[in-house]
Symmetry: C2
């Protein structure tokens, strides 16, 4: 019988090695590493149970002994890349520390463009997520505020980063699913946008586009969004 239980279960609470039976050929870390490699290299849509199993060198259904459902594979992956955080000692300046963490998250998401899509609040308590959360809390020690407020701060910063990077990535990742280049598509979309704005039905949008004729410095936009978020919690 396969390992699929009828009862709810968190993969982290399930022991990696059961008492009886042959010793497992792979560790959870092995599986997560392979899955991450595939998703990084070929895109999240190319990540299938068959693909992972093939790369591991085992039958497709054998994988289900380790990972009851594909969703659990996602959970393993998110936790695995969360280990890439550098959680060295806080400096004592909580704003600087949170800013640095936000930039780490952004870099992490650029290394693993599938992260924003797979991250789910229900995965929020995986082992590495707990380490990360505790570290954030430590960085926020100098801030005089209730724990609840600090939690909201962390959530806000992560929300800004996730939203921003998801947008950054969305355009780039379209290359994978489209038969034409994203530049071509963007050209067509901008042409349509201009044709609409030129109708005069959107005077303020027209003015906005006229104001910022050059390309927008998205890094600066990101930085401002972060600063504003942190300022909102300043004591």
């Amino acid at each position: 019988m396969a390992g699929r239980p009828a009862e709810p279960e968190v993969i982290w609470a399930r022991p990696e090695r059961a008492g009886r039976g042959p010793r497992p050929a792979f560790s959870r870390a092995d599986i997560a590493a392979v899955a991450v490699r595939i998703a990084d290299a070929e895109g999240i849509d190319a990540l299938s149970m068959r693909h992972v199993a093939a790369e591991l060198g085992c039958g497709t259904m054998s994988l289900y002994n380790y990972v009851p459902r594909k969703e659990d594979l996602y959970e393993l992956m998110v936790d695995a890349v969360s280990a890439e955080y550098d959680l060295s000692d806080p400096t004592g300046d909580w704003r600087a520390d949170m800013l640095a963490l936000a930039h780490q998250t952004r870099a992490l998401m650029h290394r693993h463009p599938w992260l924003p899509r797979l991250m789910s609040p229900v995965y929020g308590f995986s082992p590495n997520a707990l380490r990360y959360l505790e570290h954030c809390m430590t960085c926020l020690d100098p801030l005089k505020a209730r724990y609840g407020t600090k939690m909201e701060l962390i959530a806000s910063v992560n929300g800004v980063v996730t939203t921003y990077v998801a947008n950054e990535i969305a355009t780039a990742e379209r290359t994978r699913s489209l038969p034409w280049s994203p530049e071509q598509e963007q050209g067509v979309r901008i042409a349509y946008l201009f044709s609409q704005v030129a109708t005069g039905r959107y005077p303020r949008l027209a003015a906005a586009f006229a104001e910022d004729s050059g390309p927008i410095d998205m890094d600066a936009v990101f930085e401002r969004a972060l600063t504003r978020t942190l300022d909102a919690f300043a004591d």
Copy 2:
């Protein structure tokens, strides 16, 4: 030959009715309405081209005359529900207007739980999205700021709302894909969380959980996040 072009194309630039040939049996609005109904009632994972075509009463491949790719169906859906916004005249109080719009967005996303997942920045210029954007800009007329800043404000507010509601929905929508109830799962997850916190490895998290023993008022959290975001742009 099917309608799939090798050239990039925005569906909005493609005329609904071509000159020659039999008159189309459905309008884009018909198709979008059916797709929205399915996604609302059965979840986004149950939305397939076959399903939509069946509900419309036509062959699967006929649908591809109207919608070249499934992604275009998504774009139609997002635009269709964007028409549900009540964009009545601004009050002159930009903070109140933006707050009301944010609440509208939240309600919209609760009516259509698939919205956060399908919304993509690349769809950002559909007809109803343009109407919405122009309306936001009109609400922000009283705010003395550059258009670029106003754009950032709109993006920030929408980011907060999307992040927050996506989290709200994620847990609820799990019911669809899981063989057990979300309450059961949450119970198991919380049990694991407690077991981890009880190890003493996460003292600050422990303190945080001890502080807020009762259930958290998520509506209040949402409201605070919105207020903080708007405050950051106050003149």
